[in-house]
């Protein structure tokens, strides 16, 4: 009987604390929401948007058939140097396809590791080596993308340029053509095209 009484007392106490907790949650939440919203920029991370662009490139660039050893070969987006993306890139390309090819992400430290690669993002950490990288990959159908100053002018194919907190594209068309890559007009139209080359 004593046990039963305890159990009942318990139940009442618990019911009370549950409603107290409800109240507490609500009261905690409102000021917190306001404070957080006021104190923080609502802008999206730069590299989440850049990851989305890299994905878009796989949709708007045509690679020659020889760039894929089989129809099952994945289209590989490689990151060369320090990785600024975290999981953004993996999250973006998950379950996506480009012209029937699954998408994969790889990370490289050395140029020799760049084997089966279709889009190569050259990290800011490797900015000083842009010239060497472009030379080393000459003749291979790899879309070379970067965001360091003068990247497109030094032979990179697509450069992200941040202007007024927005990302613009600068495309070196001749470099892309030399690598047998066809860039869709959907990508070219809103971009700044340098080095258009002979048609």
């Amino acid at each position: 009987m004593v046990i039963l009484t305890f159990a009942q007392a318990d139940a009442i106490r618990i019911r009370k604390s549950l409603s107290a907790l409800l109240l507490l949650t609500f009261t905690l939440l409102f000021p917190l929401l306001q404070q957080s919203v006021a104190g923080q920029s609502s802008a999206i991370s730069e590299f989440r948007v850049k990851a989305t662009f890299l994905f878009q490139f796989t949709q708007f660039v045509d690679w020659p058939t020889e760039a894929f050893s089989t129809a099952q070969t994945p289209l590989v987006i490689g990151i060369f140097g320090e990785d600024p993306f975290g999981t953004f890139l993996e999250e973006t390309v998950r379950d996506e396809r480009a012209n029937g090819h699954a998408l994969a992400v790889e990370r490289y430290r050395r140029l020799e590791e760049v084997k089966n690669c279709h889009v190569l993002f050259v990290s800011g950490s490797e900015a000083s080596r842009t010239g060497d990288i472009v030379t080393a990959l000459k003749g291979r159908s790899i879309l070379i993308v970067g965001d360091s100053n003068g990247f497109a002018d030094r032979g990179g194919m697509i450069q992200f340029v941040t202007q007024e907190n927005r990302i613009r594209l600068r495309i070196n068309l001749a470099a892309a053509r030399a690598a047998n890559l066809t860039i869709s007009s959907k990508l070219l139209r809103p971009a700044t095209v340098i080095n258009p080359g002979p048609r």
């Binding site: 046990i3 159990a7 139940a11 618990i14 019911r15 604390s17 549950l18 409603s19 907790l21 409800l22 949650t25 905690l28 939440l29 917190l32 929401l33 957080s36 919203v37 923080q40 920029s41 609502s42 802008a43 999206i44 991370s45 730069e46 989440r48 948007v49 990851a51 989305t52 994905f55 878009q56 708007f60 050893s69 099952q72 990151i79 140097g81 320090e82 990785d83 600024p84 993306f85 999981t87 953004f88 993996e90 999250e91 973006t92 379950d95 996506e96 790889e106 990370r107 490289y108 430290r109 089966n116 941040t162 907190n165 927005r166 990302i167 594209l169 959907k186 990508l187 809103p190 971009a191």
Partner: protein
């Protein structure tokens, strides 16, 4: 103690029945009406909260939304470079392994415990047809109590023994997104019981499971199974899925080769819905109902049943700041003829908030509350007294990740403070450090404290039901604690070779012991905290990809545990009933893509002897041949435990069950 221990295990090897009927009947019980009303209020009121933030930050968009934008629109998005990027696995300062949906598919696993065999930082042993013993870093038992297991944020926890009933934890495996397995203490963020590890089962979002799916098959052990799912939408912002599944499994065998007559079957239905209330707000509502029965050798079948309902509101302030509020209710019934019958209600509220502080700090804090109502019908042989208990837990945690050198050296400090009805306040701090040597290599270390708080078995279990007792409940049983030191390395040594090493040294204090009331007599006994122990070991895992179409994974996990009596203990075998662990585990997996859309996968595992069960070492092989003419259709033949006609993985003679070699044919069709 052996007799009562076995009884106790029998009690706890509990398992269910007429789910709908019972659930409804339970729900009608007058006493619980007010709590049901409270639960309903929470469900109804808290999604209502989203009205508030709807207009606050329209700019925030999830990745999938970004992908649908045109190049021009993408160029007009305002970006920020200060927010923290999400961490990749290799940058985390803990021994984490992730089992992906693809890993599960290629393993042929048809249940969550089978899928957990893919994590080499766990010990996974099949006890009989339905029961499993699963733990990390030692202390394995059918009633393992040092692992925290969650499914979509819902704790799969029984207050009976502070562990998991694995036979009722299920979902459509095709809808599992990933299973994160962390070995080592993670109590700071995750909470009590995360003493030796955390298993976090995450199902896909409804928007990622649109369309239909049918799966089915059958074989010698998994005699028949079928699953169906349909995912759809209402308007542009609401996505849902509903699913159902059923399986029938054959029994295990006794060591003599006789049928153990523990065949079982279970069915489950469930749903998940998401409402993208704004670009920054997602409201999720999900739930499951299950019902099953496990046959027994000498008594009527065990009845299993239950259900859960969860609502969650997530709000993103920015890429590096978000808030999550969730509530769930879980009901579970287990009726074991000739043993106990249990009905358990769990109510849980969680709030978590993440935000950056300045340039260097990434803060997470949260509060949580849980209430359980556990009701037991005791048999004459043993009893949980009082039969009905209400228990509550309050907890709060805060953690700060400091970028000492941004993207190079990060230090994390945090603590959890928890209050429980048994032992009052418990304090669980951690300090972690990760040094990212390069894009491909990182070194990490951690020192943490975690506790395992008492459960009903520790304090309230008596045998028999009325005096004279041979096992006495122990009102003084307090928390077990661990101080853990970890050091690990992760590296991608070459494009095709990656390696991870985690090492640990754990010091345990106040471990459960069995004490005699009178040192001269074997009975009665009671449980106390008079054992201390230490463990050390490593988890080595490597992945090598010799060809684009061929992946090899190898893992080796050595483990050593040692227990000692504390002053005043009369326990004749300190730690012997707590830990049943092999000292060595080895696995090798090969995933090969062949021509003509064929996949040929093999998994070999070796588990060394479990000394205190006199259980011999064993090696077993699973093989799968899959044909996947398109991503929509998969047909596979699976052979499990092929090396021996039957083998044992856990338990002592003469009751020990053995698992038979099996084969099955399966299909999955998506449309």
């Amino acid at each position: 103690m052996d007799a009562s221990e076995r009884d106790l295990l029998a009690a706890v090897a509990i398992s269910n029945s007429g789910l709908f009927v019972r659930l409804c009947r339970r729900l009608k019980v007058v006493a619980s009406c007010s709590r049901i009303a409270a639960a309903l209020t929470l469900f109804l009121v808290h999604p209502g909260l989203v009205v508030l933030p709807l207009t606050l930050s329209a700019q925030i968009q999830a990745t999938p939304a970004l992908k649908t934008l045109s190049v021009e629109e993408l160029m007009n998005i305002e970006v920020t470079s200060v927010s923290k990027r999400p961490e990749r696995l290799f940058e985390t300062a803990s021994a984490i392994q992730v089992i992906t949906r693809e890993d599960i598919r290629r393993s042929g696993a048809a249940s969550i415990p089978e899928a957990l065999r893919l994590a080499s930082n766990l010990e996974v042993a099949q006890v009989d047809a339905h029961a499993w013993a699963i733990s990390a870093r030692g202390f394995n038992n059918t009633t393992s109590n040092k692992l925290l297991v969650l499914m979509d944020g819902r704790t799969l926890y029984t207050p009976l023994y502070a562990g998991v009933f694995w036979d009722v934890q299920d979902t459509l495996l095709e809808d599992v997104d990933r299973i994160e397995v962390i070995s080592g203490p993670s109590a700071t963020v995750w909470g009590a019981n995360a003493v030796n590890g955390v298993i976090n089962i995450i199902t896909k979002k409804a928007k990622d499971t649109q369309g239909g799916l049918l799966s089915g098959g059958g074989g010698t052990e998994l005699r028949g199974f079928g699953g169906a799912r349909y995912g759809g939408g209402v308007g542009p912002d609401v996505r849902y899925r509903i699913y159902g599944k059923y399986f029938d499994r054959d029994s295990s065998v006794l060591a003599t080769g006789q049928d153990a007559r523990d065949s079982w079957h279970s069915g489950q239905i469930g749903f998940r819905g998401e409402w993208n209330a704004s670009q920054a707000d997602v409201v999720t509502l999900q739930g499951d109902l299950y019902d099953g029965a496990v046959h027994q050798l000498t008594a009527d079948p065990i009845g299993l049943g239950g259900g859960n309902l969860m609502s969650r509101w997530e709000h993103a302030f920015s890429d590096s700041s978000d808030l999550k509020l969730q509530f769930y209710y879980d009901r579970t019934n287990r009726r074991i003829p000739a043993s106990i019958a249990e009905g358990l209600d769990t109510y849980d509220v969680d709030l978590q908030h993440r935000f950056p502080l300045g340039q260097r700090h990434d803060m997470v804090w949260g509060v949580a509350y849980r209430l359980i109502e556990d009701d037991i019908v005791n048999p004459p042989t043993l009893a949980f007294l009082p039969p009905h208990v209400s228990r509550q837990w309050f907890s709060a945690f805060a953690q700060d990740e400091v970028a000492v050198v941004k993207d190079r050296l990060h230090v994390t400090f945090g603590t959890k403070i928890e209050h429980n009805d048994y032992t009052g306040f418990e304090f669980q701090p951690t300090a972690r450090l990760v040094w990212k040597m390069s894009t491909q290599q990182s070194l990490w270390g951690a020192v943490s404290r975690a506790v395992r708080t008492p459960s009903r078995i520790d304090r309230e279990l008596f045998a028999p039901r009325s005096p004279p007792f041979i096992l006495l409940g122990s009102p003084d049983f307090h928390a077990e604690d661990v101080l853990a030191y970890e050091l690990g390395y992760r590296g991608q040594l070459q494009q095709r070779l990656s390696l991870s090493i985690a090492t640990f040294y754990n010091h345990y204090d106040n471990v459960r012991s069995t004490e005699r009331t009178n040192p001269l007599l074997p009975f009665p006994v009671f449980l106390a905290n008079r054992v201390k122990g230490e463990s050390h070991g490593a988890e080595l895992a490597a992945e090598y990809r010799p060809l684009e179409s061929w992946r090899l994974r190898a893992a080796y996990s050595p483990l050593k545990l040692h227990f000692a009596r504390k002053p005043g203990s009369t326990d004749p075998n300190p730690g012997a009933s707590e830990s049943h662990d092999p000292n060595h585990q080895f696995s090798l997996r090969s995933l090969l893509d062949l021509a003509a859309h064929l996949e040929f996968d093999n998994a070999l595992r070796y588990v060394s002897r479990i000394d205190n069960q006199s259980l011999p070492a064993y090696a077993e092989l699973d093989s799968r041949l899959g044909w996947r003419p398109s991503t929509a259709l998969e047909i596979s033949i699976l052979g499990q435990n092929l090396l021996h006609r039957r083998h044992a993985e856990f338990g002592t003679l003469p009751g020990r069950r053995e698992i038979e070699r099996s084969a099955s044919l399966r299909f999955v069709w998506s449309f």
